[in-house]
Amino acid sequence: MNPEKNTQTYFEKLKRMKLRDSSRARMESSLLEYARFHAVNEGVRVGDENRSSKQVPQRTSFIASLFNVRLSSMTAALLIALMIGGGTSYAAESSLPGDLLYGVKTEINENVQSAFAFSAKAEAELQARLAEERLREAEELAARGELDAEASAEIGTRLRAHYESATENSTEATADGDAETAFKVQASLESTFRAYAGILGTLSVGKEETATSALILDMNTYANDAKEAQTTATLNIKTNTSGILNTDITIGTDGKVDETNKEELDSDTTIDANTNLDTDINTDVLDTSIKTDTSLEAKTKIGL
């Protein structure tokens, strides 16, 4: 065979070297996802790598923006109630299922915290924390010998809701380009569930508590689900080429709440980086400081 023919054949073969159909399809959908996530600048995009303060909407009223964006009027009312209210919500923090104030803890305090979760990631982390809180309540009750069927059922229901919400929100974060949150949240949940399943198991030894067993069963189920979810999340992290969602948002405000007109608030809002929500809202009646690292804690102090 002459050398020319050889090379020609070679090049023909080389020409046929292509992306495999499955790879091509996968890449195309990943690329499209990437393009949508890093969309053309039309205002605020949370995942925008070139984000500068110019692209962030200028909010002049922090509380007003809360009212507009996240809070239903019901929750807004509750927030106000929290501010004016008094010691109730503070005392509620340590309550357990069956206590009078438990409703305040779960329906008011925790909902307020959720209102401050500005991203899927924050909400996922919050829900994971709340799940853990439920488990702590269960442990406390079990230690006192008070974990009866009713309390178990209530905790079980809430636990399921928190876990589902945490999963849902971390899936959303993954879709937005952040696959690591899902992994972290599920990993933390898995270890928490297993730990408490163990603790409850120990505490209920010798006791005929079918309610507790049901709860422990749930925990183990969730732990296994969480384990599986981590595998999925790991795959997502590996194949995700769009990078990590930059959920770093710091909102610092100096706000004053005028008692008579809650809507009016003077604040300087700056957005830079790191998931910290720091607000100091001084009122005549009470000091409310809400601080958070990756999760949220609401502490209300009352000065009388």
């Binding site: 050398p3 080389l14 091509r24 890449m27 590996k238 080429t241």
Partner: protein, 165 residues
């Protein structure tokens, strides 16, 4: 330009040039999975260019340039770590879709020219497979068409020698 229109251009570019960039990367790294990863990375950077509003006069040229630069970075990293042994042992197939036969066939094809010089391999690919002329090739590498032509001749001869065996 609006997001939708840009997306359309983006996907069209991938459809048209995806394979060519893949081949280019294959010549560079001699490994299917790695070449696929690189290809994807090339197009994500391309998206960033599109989105920044830069004027797209020559998409093909831009894509090759991105790929070329990316390969340079990759080579720097390769020297830093003993990747060669890692590569020889076999890059782990990411998932089941990895067909061993195709991988083997493509890798074999690339192996033929593996020990040729970087630039020579590339120039052969771009001319004889992708159909670029020396001027276009020169643009990608910031070299004159003449230099490319000379290289082309030399490389073709070398290839003939190899294939003659």
């Amino acid at each position: 330009m609006k997001q939708e229109a840009l997306e359309k251009i983006f996907i069209e570019s991938f459809t048209e040039y995806g394979d060519a960039i893949f081949r280019f990367c294959m010549v560079k790294v001699s490994n299917v999975e790695l070449a696929e990863d690189m290809t994807q990375e090339v197009f994500t950077r391309y998206w960033q260019s599109l989105r920044s509003g830069k004027e797209m006069t020559n998409t093909r040229s831009l894509l090759y340039t991105i790929a070329n630069n990316m390969a340079k970075d990759w080579y720097k990293r390769k020297k830093a770590t003993s990747l060669e042994s890692h590569m020889e042992l076999g890059y782990e197939p990411r998932d089941q879709e990895s067909s061993p036969e195709i991988n083997a066939a493509y890798t074999e094809l690339i192996r033929t020219i593996d020990d040729m010089e970087e630039n020579d391999k590339e120039v052969l690919l771009l001319k004889h497979v992708e159909g670029l002329d020396p001027k276009d090739i020169g643009e990608i590498h910031n070299e004159s068409a003449n230099v490319i032509s000379v290289r082309l001749n030399r490389a073709t001869k070398r290839l003939q020698e190899k294939l003659h065996i």
